[in-house]
């Protein structure tokens, strides 16, 4: 059965998470289009990972609404998980298994048949130029290649949306760029990508970015619009401007 075509593949309204009295995510509202690369920026502790964990259906929101790939994150979190991929901020592969065995393992979790797993593994590794690492143990791979592989495992079941939590931190600069080419190609194929990064060069590669400060989403826009708006040259400057500005008691609007 096909889902009716939705305008957005992620839509979130007033999503909130409290841990006891502490508000980690504070009424965030935003939409992400199909095939869009959406950057999730923000200071440490701003609530990016917490928000992401609600969107992938592993953490129950305190209040608010969210729909991802056509599924309600509250009511349909089980079904939702079959339609999304996730790379966690901590490393998410099995070190002792080879690249191919990891793909098989994750394919199995997502309920693919052996044949589907074989085909999909081959398809992904070939497409991204990674066939030669198929038999390598993950433990012997450099971090950048581990991350490229983790991205492939997150794509095994052809998800509609993938969530990437700081996928490139610590990665070699040229491999980091290869990783972003993978993101671009995936998004061009219609997959929606939500990605967090503290690397402001990478913020420029996103179609749109959001900026979170202390649980609140204070801005959602394209990198170009933000640079134009604040008359700044780089997203690094925009980030510093927004974060520092917010710190100085968000009362004064930029003149």
């Amino acid at each position: 059965m096909s889902q009716p075509e939705k305008a957005y593949s992620i839509s979130v309204e007033n999503l909130t998470k409290k841990f006891d009295d502490f508000v980690a995510v504070d009424k965030i509202t935003f939409n992400v289009k199909k095939g869009e690369i959406f950057g999730f920026l923000g200071a440490n502790g701003a609530g990016k990972t917490t928000a992401m964990r609600m969107l992938i259906g592993v953490l129950e929101p305190t209040s608010g609404k969210g729909e991802v790939a056509g599924f309600d994150i509250f009511k349909n979190s089980r079904k939702l998980k079959k339609h999304i991929g996730y790379m966690s901020q901590k490393f998410s592969l099995y070190d002792d298994l080879t690249a191919k065995e990891n793909m098989r393992f994750f394919g199995g979790i997502y309920g693919l048949t052996n044949k589907e797993i074989r085909n999909r593994t081959k398809e992904l590794l070939t497409h991204f130029g990674m066939e030669h690492i198929e038999k390598e143990r993950v433990s012997s791979l450099p971090l950048g290649w581990k991350q490229k592989l983790a991205f492939c495992t997150a794509l095994m079941h052809k998800p509609d949306v993938v969530f990437l939590d700081e996928p490139t931190s610590g990665v070699d600069p040229s491999i980091r760029r290869q990783f972003w080419e993978m993101i671009y190609e995936t998004a061009e194929g219609g997959v929606t990508v939500l990605v967090t990064t503290h690397n402001m060069d990478e913020a420029e590669y996103c179609h749109r970015i959001s900026m979170m400060v202390a649980g609140k989403m204070i801005t959602v826009d394209t990198p170009q619009n933000l640079k134009d708006k604040y008359k700044l040259e780089t997203m690094g400057e925009v980030f510093l401007h927004l974060a520092r500005g917010y710190e100085k008691e968000h009362a004064i609007t930029a003149s």
Partner: protein, 309 residues
Amino acid sequence: MTPISAENIVMNYGKVKALDAVSLKVEKGELFGLIGPDGAGKTSLIKILGTLLLANSGTAEIEGMDVVKQYQNIRRQIGYMPGKFSLYQDLTVEENLNFYASIFGTTLEENYDLIKDIYKQIEPFKKRRAGKLSGGMKQKLALSCALIHKPKVLFLDEPTRGVDPVSRQDLWDMLQSLKKDNITILVSTAYMEEALLCDRISLMDHGKILATNSPDGLIANFEKPLYAIRSGNSFKVIKKLKDYEHANSVYPFGDWVHYTDKRDTIDPLEIKSYLENNDTTNVEIKQIKASVEDCYMSLTSKNQNYEPA
């Protein structure tokens, strides 16, 4: 006395050469950066210098003391912040700090000034268990703990990993201010642009030091003319440039693309018209000074495709 010196350090893990005859000297009060991605060997080197790991061969001294024979004396004089989070997850922020302070026979109050710039950002959460902090908040706590006893030599293994841009800037400001206290600092990072904030740096890859220099010296050694190119659609610019027969290197940098050519002399207008003839519009091109990241990628360009051992 040289605060940090290492000669021909070799470290193997099975068949993996983590350090391949690495030598290094850091002068008193220097802020010295080890720059390279995960797996370059930064952590092993820092652990060996911090007396936490025995090298297979080679020698190293901290403040004139041998890292193998005099490790106990060394440990009292150094601060070490590991890359992997190693604090007590069940203790609160405040308890962790007090614990480290008491090991070294000091108190939080005594050295509060030294750590306050970083610590005050997590102080509002001082009653929270360390395990529940966000990634970057943990880093700030770990750094505070490494500094609490006012060490002479400070080893920091990727203190800015996972740390947001604002706090990264604060952290570097703080490292620079520690220089005034004459603390010698060896810091590793995978953020290439942070090299500019060091007095000197070593670029590392696959267990080797590729270059040691001041940031300016390193940049001055970049051989080829470097161009920054942009149009509305950088993905397209990248693809077209990669197809260009004369292209030597093509790397995205924010909304620009950095380009070097195989030929010694080129006319930038030629590249511009090549792009415009391949349906790219509004092409801007300008010659620029290399960044440390450009230098790094040029020095490692042979290693971009992983070769199984």
